[in-house]
């Protein structure tokens, strides 16, 4: 038999048919393969950069940011996005967002310094979060950054700092409120309903070294309906109006934070997220509609700031992983071990990621448990997923991992892999080198008493 006429080899498979469970559409997996990212072959990238491999798409980031601007700007005259560093603070990713006219939104001194290191000027940085050290606050005040005050202790500290520096700080307060969202995020900022927010605003208005420039809220995460944003925008607009009536003071902006739901499906969700979560247009409609209703004239409208993270970057990230082993569990269920686990895929604790084979998946598929490479019981990427038979070394593409996975990943048991970016010109750039033993050990120090001679000697 000549090679050309040989049948395609697929791992031999026998599946028992159960009614109520069999639905593979005539045994086809229904999974279209993902051979490339923006036209660049995944197999080639793995050949060059190894597996596992994180891949970011420059084009996907730019498209998402441009679309978000278009959607909001066609509904509201003044819109400013600020890139949420904690979502993904790889320099290449942040730089891409900044070049699309996004400011920086940071929540620690580390993130602040990272933004400054990328050349973002202080007056394009929004500094959020409950933990800003004295040193952080001083730098931010000196560099004219926007400080979003989280609690009274911070407010008083900031008053002392500005007075001792003899400088004025641009401040906003973070407000929490009941928007009908469960759970209520009342641990951040000042509560609106109990009057705390108003108390904080009064204190700021009475402090000459603080200039009140905005009102900020961030109502939660993965909010499945646009309505809470309408409520939040309305309540902040009303608060802004009170400032105008009481003090004749006009704020410059309203910052509605982030929290839009994305296309990743949560474990508890039956329907795929893409079918049920609102579109960015629906969020935009709710927000801008509420803001417009409170404006007396278009020139009176405050700037709208958005700190959208997840919804802009999630789909731009991919994790390529290869099969380490095929295994049958004690009860006969199939399992696969892959070389990327929860150490790299923190979001698998709450998401049912879309996972596709890189090559043509063949004709049959079978439910399998998907385990990561860690020798720890927690390392399960998916309890059950329908996949075609895969051979050792076959590649899988895990989609929508651009948000949080590259900031919440762990150096645990093994090291973190290369991250590359597929550029718009079709080239592939390494944007974070794989970690090495030296990289880890460089931070460690062995006490003299435990040095090699003493231990082994």
């Amino acid at each position: 038999m000549s090679l050309g006429s040989r049948k395609r080899y697929e791992r031999p498979t026998i599946l028992k048919q159960y009614s109520g469970y069999m639905n593979k559409v005539g045994n086809r997996s229904g999974l279209a393969p993902t051979p490339d990212i923006d036209g660049v072959s995944i197999e080639k990238m793995v050949e060059q950069f190894g597996s596992p491999l994180f891949v970011m798409s420059e084009q996907a980031i730019r498209m998402a940011q441009r679309r978000a601007y278009r959607v909001f700007k066609t509904r509201y005259p003044r819109v400013q996005f600020a890139w949420s560093y904690k979502t993904n603070y790889l320099d290449a990713v942040c730089a891409t967002f900044h070049s699309e006219d996004s400011w920086a939104e940071v929540v620690s001194g580390f993130e602040y310094n990272k933004a400054r290191g990328l050349g973002v000027p202080g007056n394009r940085i929004i500094f959020n979060g409950p933990d800003k050290s004295e040193e952080d606050l001083k730098r931010a005040v000196n560099e004219d950054a926007y400080l979003h005050v989280d609690h009274f202790d911070e407010l008083y500290r900031l008053i002392s700092i500005t007075e001792s520096l003899g400088k004025t700080a641009k401040v906003a307060i973070r407000v929490n409120m009941d928007c009908g969202v469960y759970p209520l995020w009342d641990r951040f900022g000042f509560n609106l309903e109990n009057g705390e927010a108003w108390q904080a605003l009064k204190r700021i208005m009475a402090t000459p070294s603080l200039k009140l420039v905005g009102l900020h809220t961030h109502i939660g995460t993965y909010i499945m309906s646009p309505d809470p944003y309408r409520v939040a925008a309305t309540k902040l607009s009303e608060l802004a109006r009170s400032l105008q009536t009481e003090y004749g003071h006009k704020i410059e902006y309203i910052d509605l934070g982030g929290g839009f739901a994305s296309k990743n499906t949560l474990h508890g969700q039956y329907l795929p997220a893409e079918g049920v979560v609102p579109t960015i247009e629906e969020y935009a409609e709710a927000i801008t509609d509420a803001l417009m209703q409170h404006a007396t004239s278009p020139s009176e409208l405050p700037m709208l700031i958005l700190e959208t993270g997840r919804a802009l970057v999630e789909e731009a990230g991919f994790l390529i992983t290869s099969v380490i082993a095929n295994k049958r569990l004690a009860d006969g269920r199939k399992s696969l071990i892959i070389d990327a686990g929860v150490n790299l895929l923190f979001t698998s604790f709450w998401y049912r990621h879309k996972i596709t084979p890189v090559r043509d998946p063949g004709m049959v598929s079978e439910d399998a448990a998907l385990y990561g490479p860690l020798c720890m019981n927690i390392d399960m990427v998916r309890e059950s997923i329908s996949l075609p038979p895969l051979n050792l070394g076959d590649l899988l593409c895990i989609h929508h991992v651009g948000a949080y996975d590259m900031t919440q990943w762990m150096q645990f048991i093994t090291l973190r892999p290369n991250v590359v970016m597929v550029m718009q010109d079709g080239t592939v750039e390494l944007i974070r080198k794989a970690e090495t033993l030296e990289y880890i050990r460089e931070r460690e120090q062995l006490p003299r008493q435990l040095s090699k001679n003493n231990v082994v000697g």
Binding site: K7, R11, P12, I14, K16, L392
Partner: protein, 87 residues
């Protein structure tokens, strides 16, 4: 090598569907699996079956051996085959 025998007089249809008249169960088998069941039915030994897989599909022998092992253990799990330890 182990000698494998099928526990039922099974017939896999052209499409890969297998209905067991004795138990009422049904199974689906892919082309590679059909090839193996066919070989076992015609009395081939494990090593002969491996050779057939290599010839038919151009797979390397190590992979074929590993996959055959798992396939046979699946057949056993479904009570479709027995193996005899031939030392």
């Amino acid at each position: 090598m182990d000698k494998i025998t099928l526990s039922h007089d099974v017939a896999v249809s052209e499409s890969g569907f297998m209905f067991l008249p004795t138990t009422g169960e049904s199974f689906t088998v892919n082309a590679t699996g059909r090839c193996i069941i066919g070989a076992i039915q015609s009395g081939r030994s494990e090593s002969e079956t491996l050779k057939i897989l290599v010839a038919e599909f151009g797979v390397d022998e190590r992979t074929a051996e590993r996959d055959l092992r798992e396939f046979v253990s699946q057949l056993q799990r479904y009570h479709l085959a027995q193996t005899q330890d031939n030392k």
